[in-house]
């Protein structure tokens, strides 16, 4: 899949919470093909403490509107600068990067999958949900947050499947963690997960116990995003692999998460 360096134009900036913004980007030319689970390395201009690009997962691609959506959690100076972008600004992007989720299998399309996300980790699940639904898969989203304000884009997730929610304070959905939710009593043929590592590890334990195929999208600190610098490695059954190039999506069987 060919990678590009593009100066994308900011079409809209939507504030999703006090810590999250949605950047809707567009270009004069049609956007290149991108897969659910892939990410973009964005250049941050105007922040003296930010040197490297920031890897941001692809939240959604609307080909009909020629829009790429990036959900940004404003956690440091660099990402806060991204939150300050205004419509009409330009964002330099290297894309699409990484492998993406494993979904395309015409012999055996998925019948019923569970997409488990927490925090900003819900971002890639929206685009994944849309693609799975188009393939005829029954999609269930299981989204967790500390409180109701941490649950992002719920109305959008509703378009592509059933939405189940947990909050730690019980303000919305079932109280507790995603792995406490009653929907887990149902059977699924695949689980996709993205979010905080402790959450993904808990989801992986559940998938292992039930014998369900499971993929997790990791978020290690990156520099190049291209598999050149070998900074973002994760220990796997095949040794140290780059999250940026060999991932960010890994089948949990390849990860050394047992401990």
């Amino acid at each position: 899949m060919k990678k590009h360096i593009l100066d994308l134009s900011v079409k809209a900036v939507e504030r999703l919470s006090d810590k999250h913004v949605l950047l809707r980007l567009t270009d004069d030319k049609p956007l290149p093909e991108m897969l659910p689970g892939q990410f973009v390395e964005v250049r941050v201009d105007g922040s003296s403490s930010t040197f490297l690009r920031r890897p941001i997962s692809i939240n959604f691609v609307d080909y009909s509107a020629n829009e790429l959506w990036l959900m940004v959690a404003m956690v440091g100076d660099g990402t806060r600068k991204l939150g300050d972008l205004q419509p009409g600004d330009t964002l330099n992007c290297v894309l699409p990067l990484g492998n993406g989720f494993t979904i395309a299998n015409s012999q055996k399309p998925l019948a019923k999958s569970l997409l488990v996300g927490g925090g900003v980790g819900v971002a890639p699940l929206l685009y994944l949900g849309e693609v799975l639904q188009q393939q005829g898969c029954e999609v269930t989203f299981l989204l967790g947050g500390r409180g109701a304000k941490d649950l992002l884009e719920l109305s959008l997730f509703n378009r592509y499947g059933r939405v189940c929610v947990t909050t730690e304070d019980g303000a919305m959905g079932e109280k507790g963690f995603v792995t406490n939710h009653s929907v887990l009593a149902e059977s699924f043929d695949k689980i996709f997960t993205c979010g905080p590592t402790p959450m993904m590890k808990a989801v992986a334990r559940y998938a292992n116990e039930k014998g369900i195929d499971c993929e997790a999208s990791l978020e290690n600190m990156m520099a190049c995003g291209l598999g050149a610098c070998l900074c973002c490695v994760e220990k796997t059954t095949e040794g140290n692999l780059c999250v940026c190039k060999d991932g960010p999506v890994f089948n949990i069987k390849r990860l050394l998460w047992q401990n």
């Binding site: 060919k2 990678k3 590009h4 360096i5 250049r43 003296s48 403490s49 930010t50 040197f51 490297l52 690009r53 290297v94 290690n220 600190m221 990156m222 520099a223 190049c224 995003g225 291209l226 598999g227 050149a228 610098c229 070998l230 900074c231 973002c232 490695v233 994760e234 220990k235 040794g239 140290n240 190039k245």
Partner: protein
């Protein structure tokens, strides 16, 4: 269009712009962004005799205008390189140069000998300056005796162009350069990264898994430039300059300081197409200033 070609020993470069080891993979990672044949050379990842897993994560910390890394020479070993990677890169129409590292002079020599047998690899860059490995690496590059011992062993085993990459973590880099020149190095490249540290104040812990790492990026450029100038005056062999180069102006500074060629490293992470922009910028500057040949500015300061 000024003449941009330069020579490093017997090695002829179509222009002085190369990529720094460990920042450009094997070149193919960047082929979507630039025409690799437009570069003077590509110095591929550090290669060792035996496979190495490298250091634990975290291996990287961002700094103001740069970054620290402690990757630790992760690579699959020279045999894997010869068998699986060389066939993929040998037809790239530029100088494909292998960066070689080791933990003893014998190791370095054995690894270099394997690469000597590869027709389409015209040169190696000997890494006696990696700050991120316990065994070997920088240990050899910080004393004249250590540097000489490795270069002497490799010179006997390796018959093509031998570039030796120097560590800036020394009192007198010119002295190290003179000792590797005396052992038959065809060129020296400098600087490798500067040893540094980062601390996470919330965790009250060092950020990098091994505590320290090598600093690179625009923040090291003035140090690198000073050292390139010192070494260029101290040796007769050509000097390859690197350290924080991210624009054509940066590259011109190194050339004027005495570098015959330059390498671009960390800047590739910010702009994967930066190398070609630097090459074009050098050419435009020469044209704008009425220079017919890049040699008119090399070492002009």
């Amino acid at each position: 269009m000024a003449k941009l070609n330069v020579n490093i020993g017997a090695l002829s470069l179509k222009n002085p712009v190369m990529t720094a080891s460990g920042t450009f993979g094997y070149g193919i990672e960047f082929e979507d962004f630039i025409d690799l044949a437009g570069l003077g050379g590509i110095i591929v990842k550090g290669t060792t005799l035996k496979p190495r897993q490298g250091n634990d994560y975290p291996r990287m910390a961002e700094t103001a205008s740069g970054m620290l890394n402690c990757v630790g020479l992760q690579n699959k070993g020279v045999d894997y390189f010869c068998e699986h990677i060389y066939p993929q890169i040998k037809d790239i129409d530029t100088n494909m140069i292998v960066n070689v590292s080791g933990s003893s002079p014998e190791d370095y020599a054995e690894c270099a000998a394997r690469i000597d047998a590869l027709d389409m690899i015209p040169a190696i860059e000997l890494n006696i300056s990696c700050p991120n490995v316990k065994d070997g690496g920088m240990a050899f590059g910080v004393t004249c005796a250590g540097a000489s011992s490795v270069v002497k062993a490799v010179r006997q085993a390796y018959h093509k162009t031998l570039i030796v990459k120097l560590s800036p973590n020394v009192t007198d880099i010119a002295e190290i350069a003179r000792s590797v020149e005396a052992e038959g190095a065809d060129s020296v490249s400098l600087i490798n990264t500067l040893m540094g540290m980062a601390i996470d104040v919330e965790k009250r812990k060092k950020v990098l898994s091994i505590g320290t790492g090598g600093l690179s990026g625009p923040c090291v450029k003035p140090v690198a430039l000073r050292m390139v100038n010192q070494v260029a005056k101290a040796v007769k062999i050509p000097v390859v300059g690197l350290g924080g180069i991210s624009t054509a102006k940066d590259a011109l500074e190194f050339l004027m300081a005495g570098a015959t060629a330059i390498e671009i490293g960390t800047a590739n992470f910010i702009d994967p197409a930066v190398t070609i922009k630097v090459r074009d910028g050098i050419n435009e500057w020469l044209d704008a200033h009425g220079c017919q040949d890049i040699h008119e500015i090399i070492g002009c300061v």
